[in-house]
């Protein structure tokens, strides 16, 4: 084979050898050109496996973040029409939302004028760098912004490390820009989180913070535990610094996406910008970085647990009060209005990303935001803004005087009930019967 590809080299090699080498030289030199090419073609795939291991870890240096091209959902529809879009067609589905029949509002970034598009691209690239060298950097930034960025650990080294890990583990679902539209993203349900709206579901940020963002530890928790009942898996075995770098990189993508989105929006809806495109991006970056830093600094601190731990009697009483609070349709919490039949018959609705979601089926024992009591507490007290789950607000003790008189702590009562709900044996008999049906019926079914 070698003598066919390199006749001259082999000629030299063999010429010192035995007497029949002369014949070999004659034959191999006579090998036709096409045959030589054919063997070369065969040899290339043999070498490919050797070459395939040489891909570098990070993104190519010349790649820049592409500008957003998918529709922006400015207002999700209020109606709850059954979605008929085929799987893998998220953008088709979202483009449909603005149909008058469905009643949502969307904007198409393709309509961005060329001049603004160029300016926006330049401004974003200047501040946020490229996938290979991500930054959140502003020349002459005022000190408050610099401090906020420092709090959020958005230095170039951490981000560059995060980008490498992100590319390996996250990009195939969450996409290069964090748009949730990576190659595998379209095929999972619920769709991967699109960071560019700056919205996150499972956060523990204090409810009084304006524009609540997740705290670093919230993103970190999601990363470590995954999200039960979705395709987000656990990354608990990544190294410590890899996880921290990933959190920073997600914040970076979210900041970039939100700056992009809220600069595009006024241009597209016709209200226009006051200054230049770059000014708008800078202004947004300042506000958003503040919001992230403030959110990061202040979490919901639950009141101490008012009952004795591991006391079944207290727990049963608390579960009962939680049940009443949950099921009273005109009460202060009235969870049952959305979690119809404890979520078993909950109707679909649109979340702020424009995808269809359903209030959780709380009898299933699957908690996306985590199953610890503190996780449930955060969900109930903080709400899940992007999917339009309102927060239970009993903070004002004078307005909710009666509530606080009946409950040692209404939040914890709700948590206890929601935690016990999937386990019938944990519920008081009458409550169990009203949720899961009476026990006496069971043998009759079994006989048949």
């Amino acid at each position: 084979m070698l003598d066919i590809i390199f006749p001259k080299t082999t000629k030299r090699l063999f010429s010192v050898r035995l007497k029949f080498s002369r014949e070999a030289i004659r034959v191999s030199s006579a090998v036709s050109f096409t045959r030589r090419v054919r063997v070369l073609i065969l040899a290339v795939p043999c070498l490919l496996p050797l070459l395939s291991g040489c891909e570098p870890d990070s993104y190519p240096a010349e790649l820049s973040y592409p500008l957003r091209s998918d529709p922006i959902v400015t207002q999700p529809p209020g109606s709850t029409r059954w979605d008929t879009t085929a799987p893998g067609q998220l953008d088709v589905h979202i483009a449909h939302l603005s149909d008058p029949e469905i009643g949502g509002k969307t904007l198409d970034p393709a309509k961005l004028p060329a001049k603004e598009r160029q300016e926006l691209e330049r401004a974003l690239n200047e501040i946020f760098g490229t996938p290979a060298a991500p930054t959140v950097y502003l020349k002459d930034a005022d000190p408050s912004l610099t401090d906020a960025l420092k709090d959020l650990k958005l230095d170039p080294e951490t981000l560059a490390r995060g980008s490498i890990v992100y590319r390996r583990h996250c990009m195939h679902c969450h996409g290069v820009t964090g748009d949730g539209r990576g190659p595998t993203g379209a095929w999972v349900n619920p769709t991967p989180r699109d960071y560019r709206q700056g919205l996150f579901k499972f956060i523990s940020t204090d409810v009084h913070v304006n524009n609540r963002k997740p705290r670093r530890e919230d993103l970190r928790r999601t990363l470590e535990r995954g999200i039960e009942g979705t395709s987000m898996s656990s990354f608990s075995l990544l190294q410590e610094e890899e996880k921290e770098a990933l959190v920073s990189y997600v914040i970076h993508l979210s900041l970039r996406g939100e700056c992009e989105r809220y600069t595009m929006e006024p241009i597209l809806d016709g209200s226009g910008l006051e200054g230049s495109v770059r000014d708008k991006v800078v202004e947004l970056l300042g506000d958003l970085a503040q919001a992230w830093a403030q959110s990061n600094a202040k979490g919901i601190e639950p009141d101490p647990y008012p009952y004795k731990e591991n006391d079944p009697e207290h727990l049963q009483a608390s579960i009962r009060r939680g049940f009443q609070l949950f099921t009273d349709p005109r009460g202060s919490a009235s969870c049952i209005n959305c979690h119809v039949d404890f979520g078993r018959q909950a109707p679909f609705r649109y979340d702020k990303w424009g995808t269809l979601v359903r209030p959780a089926n709380l009898t299933a024992g699957v908690y996306r935001g985590g199953r610890r009591p503190i996780d449930l507490y955060w969900r109930i007290r903080g709400g899940i803004d992007p999917s339009q789950m309102p927060r239970a607000d009993f903070d004002d003790k004078t307005a909710n005087k009666e509530l606080w008189r009946n409950h040692a702590d209404p939040y914890w009562d709700l948590v206890n009930f929601v935690q016990a709900l999937p386990y019938p044996q944990m519920l008081p008999d009458d409550i169990r019967d009203s949720i899961y049906g009476s026990r006496q019926e069971k043998p009759a079914v079994a006989k048949r």
Partner: protein, 288 residues
Amino acid sequence: MQHKGWSIFFGVILSAAFLSIAIGPWVGWWLPANVSTFGPDIDYLYYVILGFTTFFFLLTEVLLVWAMYRFAGRPGVKAPYIEGHHRLEMLWTLVPGGILLYIALAQIHAWEKIKYQAKMPDPDLVMQITARQWDWTMRYAETPKPDNPRAWAEIPNFDDLYLPDELHCWKGANVRIYLKTQDVLHSLFLPHLRLKQDALPGKTIPVWFNATDSNTRFNESTGTCELDKNKVWEIACAELCGGGHYRMRGMLYVHESKDDYLNWLKHAQKTARSRQPEKKASPVAAKN
């Protein structure tokens, strides 16, 4: 000569292939350390099969290269036409047949010991593992051994502990795992325990093991498990299950003793039932 060149070419490639495997034991390409009671049974079968395949690999490849050299085409010589050889055909059908039969009989003992549900030892520790795209969720009962393990595997309890990707047990414990999958086929693979079991959608499959060595001690003051750096025993998925197959990693923590395990379990349960946010700041934040 250029016809004989092929025999040299294949001779070199095949020798290189054989050498690259043969040097395995000296360069760390061999079976990982065994920490399972039934590991030697599995290893024995591996070696028996490896012996057979090595012998026949060498035999056939030497014959092949020799034949390529010996019977290389010569200008002006017409190749003979050979119809076949009945006795040879019989020979290389019956010999492998006999070997297969031997392997089938030789593995019965290992199979009975490891996979027969009726013969599985009484468990000291029961857990349930659910595979999904792409991680493992380990579910631990309140106590190491629930009253009715099989029923517990099917119906979760209020006080269960859920933990992604971490399999904890203790040295010398008969561990029973009830394996499930949420979506597609997966396969729970613990190379150091010589344990591999497919997870089938809709089925709950019991598997067991007993670890003969430990690699973990629970540190009560820090609340962390101290893993021996020289004994990192990973869990892998051994069934191609989709794009994230490669990252279905898990970690096996074998505690020194039951007490150490129970200390860890108590701590893990306390964390899982936490009613207050973690006080511990994240390590990076602590540096500043």
